[in-house]
Amino acid sequence: MRVYLDNAATTPIRPEVLECYIDTLKLIGNPSSVHSSGQQVRQVLEEARESLAKSLDCDRSEVLFTSGGTESDNLAIKGIYWQRRDEDSIRNVVITAGTEHHGVIDPIEWLEAHEGAEVQLVPVNYDGELDLAWLAKYLEDNHSKVALISLMWANNETGVVTDIKAITTLANAFGIPVHTDAVAAFGHLPTSFKESGLAAMSISAHKLGGPVGIGALIVSRATKLVSIIHGGGQERGMRSGTMNAPAAKAFALASEIAVATLDHERARLAAIKGNMVEKAKTINASLVLTSEKTETLPNIAHFTLAGGSGDSLLFLLDQDGISVSTGSACQAGVNRPSHVLIAMGRTEDEAKGCLRITLGHESTEADIEALLTSLPKAIDATLRAGLSSQ
């Protein structure tokens, strides 16, 4: 049996979600069709929308189904940027941070390269915390130029949690919309959209026991945005293309379970994580927990290994049947220095020695026992191999 400790990359689908997904796939009908077959599938879709709205504490009409987190991020960032800039051409500033996921950074860089956007990065400290005093000052001085702010609710590599309410309070004073990538946070933290003050929020199903290929962008009723995918006008005209009702239903069910078990799971995973961190710290002084003094998600533990390469560690643990990560999964599987750690002030060499352990709904103490059994030897060999490749 393999030990799976890379739940921030993707989670195993929950058995009851899989069953529901397969059953719903058998239904015939396009939700946009007028006949009874179509209406039957439309009903499934709208029930899923209502269920998800309940899980997120938002209005049902605020839920736009997408293909996943990256599409949601693109729709929010480009859609709100174009909307706001078209309303007033002075608004071309997008505020974000260097620790964001590529799903956010890359569309913003694209806007900078192709649409005249000016990017402002909120400074990040060594522990991954945002400098909100900087943000307050920047908004005070430049609010009329700002098109939108996009800052993640929780970081997918380090687990660092952002005070979203503090950000929306600052921004809303000037009527500036805030988008958040809540892909890592949703299902692991209370994420009430209504109370957050957000304009838009990206979420994805496969990070909380649902299938890959379905996500959502939650857009507040007050927020206008320009569509980036054109066609049949589905999803309020914001996301054309035949709607994926079976995946939406599976997503809604996975979310419902995650929210219903949130308090219990948070406590359970925090205990497993705490135990692991305490023991891991004693293995080798070179292995250091990242953002120890900061609030992090209960399911993510991120370490750096000074003088070692993350890909050596990943390889050795994989050979022992343990799946971990060096950070965000990326193209062609190459371990590059993490841009998140670089943004947090680490050197390239420091940012190469990353180990990310992420827990999910199936994780147990036994998984951690297996990890802790393999880890000392793997760390020794990794340090012997050193940074020879670099």
């Binding site: 062609a332 599987g333 670099q390």
Partner: protein
């Protein structure tokens, strides 16, 4: 043995990995990421370094049924191979980057990392053979497929490195056989084109690529007596032995074509002359290594063969270590050898030693002066 199969994404390394598995080894496939900004799709005749190549390697590993990883050697590759390539050209020399890569990356950085992580050997898809002599010493020999033989670029391997190397396709008669075997194994890379170009030069145009990095300063093209015959847009754009692209306008007095004899980057001059002036009769290098067991009595000249290009002919030579340098007296002159190139010494099919060429002796000088003093080339 626990074997790391270096997989470029090409057919040779895929078949090599498959054969290592069949030989009973525990094999893990590793693709080396050598470029910091890999292209998405393969272009021209480069054989690695794009994401498509790493995907090809992964598919091959999946079909062979071995674990697969990508290891990033891009920084080391830039420092040891790419920057070295540029600085060698900057010094008017002609380097072989594939050789440098074998010396510093594949059988050094990769091998060291592999050994530290518990492997016993690195396996590659090079066409070369490892044999054992009567005393049990490992020897590197030419591949059975002489047309594809790559023993030259492996000449840098030392006895210790040979101990941890495997070349499973060296005993194959031809590349066609490798392709047929790959097809029979269902490997999708069976028909992938061969690679010839330098992997880190995307458009395959070395001169343009160098000009971008070294800049280009116009200078003179001169004859052997220093008379100015024309001008050039950057001395590093020329290699010894080059005939085309000189654009000298008027022909030589004897009407015969002229060749680049030397590239002098200090004076930014390109020296040209007749073909016979390209002929070199002696080579020597200070930085030499033995490939496997050193030759006994190497201070005395012995009969051997010397090869100076990856796909060049070998020529007979008398070879000896003289004052700490490897000296090769060629029995047949070689045309257009440039300092910086590698000379590999063979005893029969065995690779004995290699050196980067530091000095050459021109046949014209040797003839005219009757001595073996260094000629105008590569002083």
């Amino acid at each position: 043995m626990k074997v790391l199969a270096a997989m470029s994404g090409g057919v040779d390394s895929a078949v090599a990995a498959a054969r290592a598995v069949e030989a009973g080894h525990e094999v893990v496939g590793v693709h080396l990421a050598l470029s910091r900004m890999p292209g998405t799709l393969r272009t021209g005749s480069r054989g690695c370094c794009t994401i498509e190549d790493s995907m090809d390697a992964q598919r091959a590993a999946n079909l062979i049924g071995i674990p697969y990883y990508v290891w990033d050697f891009s920084e080391k590759f830039k420092a040891e191979v790419v920057d070295d390539f540029i600085s060698e050209y900057q010094s008017g020399r002609t380097p072989n980057p594939c050789m440098r890569c074998n010396e510093r990356i594949k059988f050094a950085a990769l091998l060291e990392k592999a050994l530290a992580l518990g492997f016993d050997a690195v396996c590659t898809g090079h066409y070369a053979s490892l044999l054992t002599d009567e005393e049990g010493n490992l020897e590197l020999h030419r591949s059975m497929a002489l047309a594809k033989d790559q023993s030259y670029v492996l000449g840098v391997l030392t006895a210790d490195q040979l101990k941890h190397s495997m070349f499973p396709i060296g005993h194959t008669a031809s590349k066609d056989e490798i392709r047929a075997e790959a097809a029979a194994r269902g490997l999708s890379v069976a028909a992938k084109p061969d690679s010839y170009d330098i992997c880190f030069i995307p458009e395959g145009d070395t001169q343009d690529w160098l000009a971008e990095r070294l800049g280009s300063t116009a200078g003179d093209i001169v004859d052997m007596d220093g008379n100015v015959l024309g001008n050039h847009q950057g001395a590093h754009g020329f290699t010894v032995g080059q005939r085309k692209g000189l654009q000298l306008g008027k022909p030589a007095a004897d009407g015969r074509p002229r060749y680049v004899l030397a590239v002098d980057v200090n004076s930014n001059k390109v020296v040209v002359g007749p073909q016979q002036a390209l002929a070199v009769v002696e080579l020597s290098g200070d930085r030499f290594t033995w490939c496997g067991k050193p030759k006994d009595n190497a201070e005395e000249f012995f009969d051997a063969h010397v090869q100076v290009r990856a796909h060049g002919e070998q020529v007979p030579a008398k070879v000896a270590v003289v004052d700490g340098a490897l000296v090769m007296r060629l029995e047949e002159p070689i045309l257009g050898v440039a300092p910086g190139q590698t000379a590999v010494v063979y005893l029969g099919t065995r690779v004995l030693a290699q050196t980067t060429i530091d000095r050459t002796v021109s046949a014209v000088d040797a003839f005219s002066t009757g001595s073996a003093s260094a000629g105008p080339i590569g002083q």
